[in-house]
Symmetry: none
Subunit: 230 residues, 2 copies
DNA sequence: GACCCTACTGCCATAAATTGACAGCAGAAC
DNA sequence: GTTCTGCTGTCAATTTATGGCAGTAGGGTC
């Protein structure tokens, strides 16, 4: 790989990170020595890339730096289309429309050949089994998560009567057949998980959750050893 | 000036032109020989720049090398992230990287608040069951579908010995647990479906499929009553 | 057909750059 | 202090870039 392509690849690699990365791991992924990587970083900085490096931390590319190539590859188009199709097939109607609209917006900025690739993509998603229909209002649930609003639910535990609780929802996890709402439960004063097909009622309150969603998510991940690397 | 900075400058220079420019004048403005300019153009094209050159005319950079800023609704962001996460969790490593890179590229052209929405999104995908590992080279298979190349496979039917066939692959369908390659089978002279976990070998030939992929897909959909509305 | 203008490729000797290795300094967290 | 990292200098071997030249080819104009 020539140096000029490597520099562009390095930008793209840095774009995919949100937390600091060490130069050593970048060097390994680019297949060059650490010395060369330092030179590459210096070159990119000289060309205007806003790369922040600190001893003991690593590097972060501060957002807003546009540098070619900034177009999708065919494989990236495939990934986006396939993901959108899974969303359309396996979630709810609102999210399905959203996936559809997002693809349309992406298509609008694509050059002709890539738009054709997007439109004729032939990775398909099939739903063999029906999802449990349920009465859960997923759009409202997602909205509550986004806005950070407490909700009240009636939830039937595996071996118990339905109980009414006020919870702080912060994540919704999609399994093959079920979906699970992750929340802080005011009743139990602990993190709890609720299968959405066992919710009998759900009411979004107008009370704000007193903690940031990403903090709750981070703490839950830490205490429950959950990783999702995107 | 180093070559890598010159390549970026050349892109910028090309963007300022609307009518074709001759290589000679570009070379003069970049301060290099015409021979070097041709090499630079070739390098940029290899990196995905859509530069059109015709004898007697000159060069034009077709729009689309850089992505313009894009706006999505919060729900569209959620759909894209959720889809990308499903791809990352349930397909292969190459597609996982592609999904990751695509999101990073989208994030790069998003305004701050939407980028934050993308980065802190809390719709998660879980893989409860392991995918059948298999030995199928999915990246090569997707590439063959994209490029429209025939492939040779050894396929073990449900109740039979493995047979070697030459097929025209045109679609790959993702089910919860299996994946099925849809193709025209030269042996049976008909559409056939192949579970990828029953492929023992797969060789991509360098013979083009004599029909367009989208035509095959459309005909297969018609004859098999398959709908996928995205 | 002859004629331009241009894109594009192959070759080659020279010049320039890139590279990895090693040694060492510096800042920050523990 | 120790450890983790960023960062710089130097140098020899290697790789790459470069310009010049010759030649092919495509697409207009006359």
């Amino acid at each position: 790989m020539s140096r000029s392509t490597r520099l562009l690849d390095l930008i793209q690699l840095l774009r995919t990170y949100r937390r600091p990365v060490s130069g050593a791991s970048l060097a390994q992924r680019m297949g060059v020595s650490i010395r060369t990587l330092y030179r590459d970083i210096a070159t990119l900085q000289a060309q205007g890339a806003d790369i922040e490096g600190a001893p003991g931390f690593g590097y972060v590319l501060k957002p807003g730096f546009l540098m070619p190539p900034m177009m999708f590859s065919e494989e990236e188009i495939e990934a986006l289309v396939l993901g959108a199709r899974w969303v359309a097939a396996r979630t709810d109607d609102e999210l399905k429309d959203a996936a559809h609209n997002a693809l349309a917006k992406i298509a609008a900025v694509l050059p002709t050949d890539l738009r054709h690739e997007l439109e004729t993509n032939s990775l398909l998603v099939y739903n063999t089994r029906e999802l449990h229909p349920g009465t859960t209002d997923f759009p409202a649930m997602r909205e509550a998560i986004r806005q950070g609003m407490k909700i009240d639910i009636d939830y039937a535990d595996v071996n118990g009567q339905p109980t009414t609780r006020r919870i702080w929802p912060f994540a919704l996890a999609y399994f093959e057949e079920t979906r699970v709402l992750a929340a802080w439960c005011e009743l139990r004063n602990a993190f709890r998980h609720f299968r959405t097909d066992r919710l009998s009622t759900m009411t979004v309150t107008d009370i704000r959750i007193p903690r940031r969603r990403d903090r709750l998510l981070a703490e839950w991940r830490r205490t429950h050893n959950v990783t999702q690397d995107m």
